[in-house]
């Protein structure tokens, strides 16, 4: 997947002015890593789409809600 631009990352950081310095960047890195992980391993050929499962998906949803405030 294509990288977020600096402007896109900065917009997320600016949306959380009360966050501890560096924490939103770290959360965004973790979020992006989880999203990218879905593409980095071979999805089952029997399934048309590959979906992260279990704890990883829960964490992804949690980070998405925190960073972007929507589902």
């Amino acid at each position: 997947m294509t990288p977020l631009s600096r402007e896109e990352r900065d917009a997320v950081i600016r949306a959380h002015p009360a966050a501890e310095p560096g924490s939103i960047e770290a959360d965004l890195d973790e979020y992006e890593s989880l999203v990218a992980a879905d593409f980095a391993t071979d999805p089952s050929a029997a399934r048309a789409e590959h979906v992260l499962g279990g704890a990883a998906m829960d964490r992804l949803a949690q980070l998405h809600e925190k960073l972007f405030g929507r589902q």
């Binding site: 997947m1 990288p3 770290a26 890593s33 989880l34």
Partner: protein, 297 residues
């Protein structure tokens, strides 16, 4: 159904199955809500054609001041077949939907299992297939790598003492979902993923802290030199990740061709002119060898 299939470059017609890159307008979009709609690209053929032309120029290193041009090698570029498909009037049904919107990441994503049946209806076999969408809300491209057909021939290579193969045929082609407005290095970046192999070496994103190794990323500290030995040649690591730095990351990358700018699979958007970015040393060698192996099939 009205279908406009263009052979934009015939490639090596002496081969029974020349290496082929396909660009299809996505007939039906699976929205984030799960609803299926006619993809808005279907009313924008001129813009689709512009997008395809840009993507081809980007892949072949023809954009002004573009540095990465390994596909332009006379031993590679002219032998690749390029095809576009724009088919209107298809039913709004799941098999006609090649692209889905994903809320997580804000992506358009390939529905990889649907590409081959859709293209087979037109007698097309692609090695890498792009589906172009004009989703209203999701513009970020994504790609799955190729699942190779390991039951057919390949060209052997060695990686860190392991015997592996550049398999000649795909079982599941590399698939890309890309927005109609995609520019910059997006087509070449996604090609890096899609043309690589889940069996023999996947080229992954370098702009995130990876937690698992892949062809172009290693995990752990200290950074080990060489990064890898490919076909007898040691490739150095990138100790500093050019000007971006690794920070607290535990992953590290191969040495760059141009050590002053990020790799094409890293965050090229940090550059005023992203087109100066190139593949790192070992990724470039690997993708080049993989394509040459396939071109000779």
């Amino acid at each position: 159904m009205p279908v406009d299939i263009q052979i934009l470059q015939s490639g090596d017609s002496s081969r029974p199955r020349p290496y082929s890159i396909l660009f299809a307008a996505n007939p039906v979009l699976k929205q984030a809500s799960g609803a299926l709609i006619i993809d808005p690209v279907m009313t924008q053929q001129a813009a689709f054609n512009t997008c395809v032309r840009y993507a081809i120029d980007c892949l072949f290193g023809r954009l002004p001041a573009q540095a990465e041009n390994f596909l332009a090698d006379p031993a590679i570029g002219p032998r690749i077949r390029l095809i576009s498909v724009f088919e209107t009037g298809l039913p709004v049904s799941d098999p006609n939907s090649l692209v889905e919107e994903r809320v997580f990441g804000g992506l358009v994503a390939p529905r990889r299992g649907r590409y081959a049946p859709y293209l087979a209806r037109h007698g097309i076999l692609a090695d890498v297939a792009y589906a172009i969408s004009a989703s209203d809300d999701f513009r970020r491209a994504s790609a799955y790598g190729t699942t190779d057909d390991t039951g057919r021939p390949g060209t052997p290579f060695r990686l860190d003492g392991q015997s592996l193969m550049h398999w000649h045929f795909p079982d599941i082609s590399g698939t890309v979902a890309m927005h109609l407005t995609a520019r910059s290095l997006t087509p070449a970046h996604e090609f890096g993923h899609a043309a690589s192999s889940y069996n023999s070496g996947f080229v992954t994103d370098l702009y995130i802290p990876n937690t698992s190794p892949n062809f172009n990323v290693r995990i752990g500290r200290p950074i080990v030199n060489p990064f890898a030995t490919y076909n007898g040649t040691p490739f150095a690591p990138d100790p500093t990740r050019d000007g971006l730095g690794y920070g607290a990351w535990n992953s590290y990358h191969p040495a760059l061709v141009n050590a002053t700018v990020p790799a094409l699979m890293d965050n090229y958007t940090t550059q005023v002119n992203p087109l100066v970015c190139r593949h790192d040393t070992i990724t470039r060698a690997f993708l080049r060898d993989r394509l040459i192996a396939k071109l000779g099939r």
